[in-house]
Amino acid sequence: MTQDTVNDPTQPGPDRSGGPDGPVLVVDDSASVRAYHSSILADAGFTVQEAGNGYEALERVVVQRFALLVVDVNMPVMDGYTLVGAVRGQTLGADVPIIMISTEREAADSAEAYRRGANVYLVKPAEPDQLRLTAMLLTGRTAGHAGTAGAAGGRS
């Protein structure tokens, strides 16, 4: 029995126009970490949305196509690894690029991230240039693609 019939991409819907030009979803239970990573990405020309727990992020991914997910590990209700696994099980999430960001430094933790389906694993808080370049690489954007900076911050 297919679970995917209702996520039929040929069905009309307002949210299927995403893809590489779509928004980025930043997922972290800390408002400051979200703001920090969001401002780095907004400065690089991305539109950014935020979610405060892993399950809330899953609900958003189910409804909308994102260009990129930036996912923390330790979050209430649903942790980041479980979120990534669940996202990969959704039609709209099967190939969305995912950066996991965590305080964990152990190799075992990055191995788990890749096992669940993340594309890149960074240590938190992400170094701005590294996050920016990784995001651009994963979404296929070039420096020239970046539009006017988002409202948040003025960090370079």
Partner: protein
């Protein structure tokens, strides 16, 4: 005549394909906690919810249960038991390598107010930075008048920048104006950390903050 039919729901005790109902001997019901079928294990957890003697078994099961839905049923039940046995039985799991388990346990500890409160001071001194981070997560949902003081303590003294930043964040969501002296001491403790600088600036700059 309406094609809608009344249901044939019988109000029976939970006996049936699940096995022992509430009037069955406790050992039989406990045995279901390790049944091979996750759905039977889950129902066993729910069926033991009004059995005080089952508590130690349910606590012990949290770290061992592989199925996330069964683990959630265990945690949902234990969250309603503000009992030192629950807190002491689960606190060690905050250090688990399993992220799902860690945060499930943190979720329980947020709810077991009185028992958790008694243990927080010890946890704040845990040498493991990752445990302290989860303690901040617990404090984020814990209903205790001492939370503000504990968070301020972390902001002023924690040796790890991520823990300090997490504590600043939670404190900023708790009070109209986090103590500026504490924020300044955090910044002084991590002078080259751009993220601490970001978090402190944010906490100080919110609209209409009083000076304290």
């Amino acid at each position: 005549m309406s094609p809608l039919r009344k249901s044939e729901v019988d109000e029976v005790d939970g006996a049936g394909p699940d096995g022992p109902g509430r009037d069955q001997p406790l050992p039989d019901r406990l045995a279901r906690l390790v049944d091979g079928d996750p759905d039977r294990r889950r129902r066993a957890v729910l069926a033991l919810s009004d059995e005080p003697a089952a508590l130690p078994h349910l606590i012990a099961r949290v770290g061992l249960e592989p199925d996330p839905a069964v683990r959630e049923a265990l945690c949902a039940h234990l969250a309603g038991h503000d009992d030192p046995a629950v807190v002491d039985g689960l606190a060690g799991l905050l250090a688990s390598d399993d992220a799902g388990l860690r945060i499930a346990v943190a979720g329980v500890l947020q709810q077991t107010r009185t028992a958790t409160q008694a243990r927080v001071p010890g946890w704040l001194a845990d040498p493991d930075r990752d445990v302290r981070l989860l303690v901040v997560m617990v404090l984020a949902g814990l209903r205790s008048p001492q939370v503000e003081g504990w968070l301020t303590d972390l902001v002023e003294h924690d040796p790890d920048p991520n823990v300090t930043a997490a504590a600043i964040d939670e404190l900023a969501g708790l009070v109209r104006a986090p103590c500026r002296a504490a924020l300044r001491s955090a910044r002084a403790r991590f002078p080259d950390d751009p993220f601490i600088d970001f978090v402190v600036t944010r906490a100080m700059a919110a609209p209409d903050r009083e000076r304290r």
